[in-house]
Symmetry: C3
């Protein structure tokens, strides 16, 4: 048995839990903040048979994959008292950090 | 040293923490939601000497054991516009999921 | 890869996360209550290369070290209906509990 601990962005949490449940994996959501990913994030525990670890990782990759999005960066204009020029910049959203930990004993009572 | 990670129902949390403390075990409660157990649940970390892991599991079993309770299921009556018949059904309450993880290094500072 | 799970007092949390980030370590904060340390506490996950575990522990020690502080204990005076004598007593503040767990697989996606 393995425990997959994954830290994902808040906005991916519900979809990930739903997908994991659909595939028969039980996931527990812990509130978490800051750290691995800059925006609000959530830590999820998934208990899983060793042979299914890759399936869980695959689901996390699908739901939480980093994508490039265009965002507007407002930059003050030096020659004006008040004023900004908006530059479109590419930002990465999504992503996940995954730790797989061995479980020596697993019980459901 | 082992880390016992257990996910229990919210309603069993306080009693479990109290029992663990009484027996000399230190438990940390993490807020958690959804997942392993359908109703509101709580994740608890218990750091424990290898020789005491079974004692901790025994306490969790005692406090969180699944019990059958009778609950009323309201079923609409087909022949009436509005109306329900209440059937008593057996539901399981309580229960816990337990993961025991090895701790390579343990420090109290 | 190792996962350092540390439970620290609420008041040390922000400073610890800041120091860990400054030194290049990524920390995730989980809300937690009760247990290992009597006052409000926070559980922090730090994913770290094996060779850097001692550096992380050193930072936790520096930020969260137990210190003795003088505090006033109010003791009722037996001979008076209402009245207290304040005794200065030494109390320990700070402290941390640290668990280092092996990570079999680590991924950032
Ligand atoms: Ni296993
Ligand atoms: Ni050990
Ligand atoms: Ni490793």
């Amino acid at each position: 048995m393995k425990l997959v601990i994954t830290i994902v962005q808040d906005e991916d949490t519900n979809k990930l839990i739903q997908r994991l449940n659909q595939e028969g994996f039980m996931a527990t959501k812990l509130a978490s903040t800051g750290g691995f990913l800059k925006t609000g994030n959530t830590t999820i525990f998934v208990g899983v048979e060793e042979s299914k670890v890759e399936d869980v990782i695959e689901i996390i990759k699908e739901v939480c994959k980093t994508t490039k999005q265009m965002s507007l960066l407002n930059q003050p204009i030096a020659s004006m008292t008040e004023g900004y020029i908006s530059y479109p910049i590419e930002v990465s959203v999504g992503g996940a950090t995954i730790f797989v930990v061995d479980v020596e004993k697993y019980l459901k009572i």
